[in-house]
Symmetry: C2
Amino acid sequence: MRKLVAEMAGVSEATVSRVFSGSDTVKENTRSKVLKAAQELGYVPNELARQLARKKSGNLGVILPYVPKARLFSTYYFYEMLGGISEAAQEHGVNLLLLHRKPDENGNYELLFRQQKVDGLIVLGAREVTEEREELLQMDAEGRPFAFVNQRMDGLEHRAVEADHRRGSFLACAHLLEQGWDKPAFVKGPGDFSNTLDRLEGFRDALPDELKTSHAELQGNYSRTSGLALAEEAASLLRSGIADAFAAANDRMAIGLLQGLKQRGFEAGQDYGLTGFDDSDGARLTDPALTSIAASFFETGREAALIALKVNSTPAAKLPVQLVVRESSLRG
Amino acid sequence: MRKLVAEMAGVSEATVSRVFSGSDTVKENTRSKVLKAAQELGYVPNELARQLARKKSGNLGVILPYVPKARLFSTYYFYEMLGGISEAAQEHGVNLLLLHRKPDENGNYELLFRQQKVDGLIVLGAREVTEEREELLQMDAEGRPFAFVNQRMDGLEHRAVEADHRRGSFLACAHLLEQGWDKPAFVKGPGDFSNTLDRLEGFRDALPDELKTSHAELQGNYSRTSGLALAEEAASLLRSGIADAFAAANDRMAIGLLQGLKQRGFEAGQDYGLTGFDDSDGARLTDPALTSIAASFFETGREAALIALKVNSTPAAKLPVQLVVRESSLRG
DNA sequence: CCGATTAATGTACGCGCGTACATTTTCTCA
DNA sequence: TGAGAAAATGTACGCGCGTACATTAATCGG
């Protein structure tokens, strides 16, 4: 095929290749002859062969956690992230290879590189277990370009892209206090995610000293259902006056809590203050609408892509967060 | 590399290849020798080279519509679909190549095949314009394996995977009537999507003859905002008694409507009946929760993948839908 | 124990490109 | 106008695998 084009254009195959590889130095005249011939013959370079010859797959891999029917994590979160990654990928002319990690199985990330399936890798939702950490450490040692998101792992700080969760939580708590809710409690996620801890600390940061150690905490698992299940406990905190507001570590739990408390006669914004975290789509669907923290997952994904593509070698500072005020936290 | 493995195992390179390509006929003895050698040297076949030699990219392409910051389409919809596609892809050992279509630009789908970037293609949210249709028709003529979803195009019925929207709308409307709302109105999406029409027809199917031509219709664009904007119009329909319920063509519009009507003092389930369509995550977040139609996008994606992988050549019958009753439609 | 089958392995080459190096053409400047 | 430098093109080969075909080893029947 390439040969035919070469003949028709009266040049060598190498020249054809040059034309399509972004000119080294081809005379304008011959370039157009080649393009014309290619056009007529319908020739297009075979990407596979190119990649082999160049020793670059041109793919950016994205590892998604296995999502069983019941969506464990927020759809919103991943889809936004993917959008940001995709944008960066497109700008740099690479393809996106989507890889759903199997339930328990290790990622075997290194393998993807050795097989030349990807040139870079983004791990969304890495499992925070030793095995996983070691695998990532090894990858780093081998000098593979990769990045992960909203997590922290010792010795891999330069691979981590994350929003400033701590500050986000701080903003939420400060806002509650400012609104006159002076006994905010915190709704935690599972303790083995690093950003769960950040969000808790940020919350404490905003608390006056006397409350720093004595505030109430509820334990959820980031699902709406878990929020719903905490409603009874929350209600009794409200009744006993131990708490008059809740800052939840994510929107889904906040929404569940809002719904559960409503069933028990407590209205957010009226009878208690409530904030979520993520500013997900759902935040504006509840009644009252949920005050939340926007962490720009789109940007987070984008940043991660740039690192995995070795465009940004410096790990960006923590990405900014923003308080989005809606009714659930407003007194009145 | 392969050569080293061959030497260490005391066989030829071809035999090494045979071992890794799923045995033709290799003696168990030599197989293990080869595997051992490969293990020790850390050899793994290069996928790129394999693909080139086999003339198969091993990739299933997924075209996503460009999603600007403001999410035009339902995140939920696409993410579910992706999940189904991914499951099928994994089962058949192919990779998923994600491609975001640029804003206006044509897909140039055929090119992806000619470049050997993909072996099959799934188009999510094809634009329903002549250009696009022609491109798809051409692809079909060239015998490329592909599928698209929840749309209809003349001459491409065997490429379309869709849920039974018409029946879904029928169920919604029938349910409203059964609940004693006897003047349901329909909230349409943009008229140039084929399934918008299906949903309207299904709605009519359920109507008693005298209403089939005289029911009210509102025109939205599938966004929540558009639902919100229709609230005033809807309110006057309610006040004048022209309508006492609304079946919306999707959840987002229904949710907007619900919120807008609430502002005007109308409570869903109380003062009027309301159903959505999609059974999105948001349906269970509103107050009252939204009755909706579940169309199993996961399954839809899965089916589409099977067709694009030539596993299922027969286009499946329309996928089943299901009425999910929540409070918004229940008289009470 | 030997020829005829059949199983197992080896040899050789192509897949379609990029690119180092060699060669030819064009340009520069005296 | 011609030597030398620079630009343009051609030649040759490798990227790492799969596989058709040739070759050798194992098996079997008599």
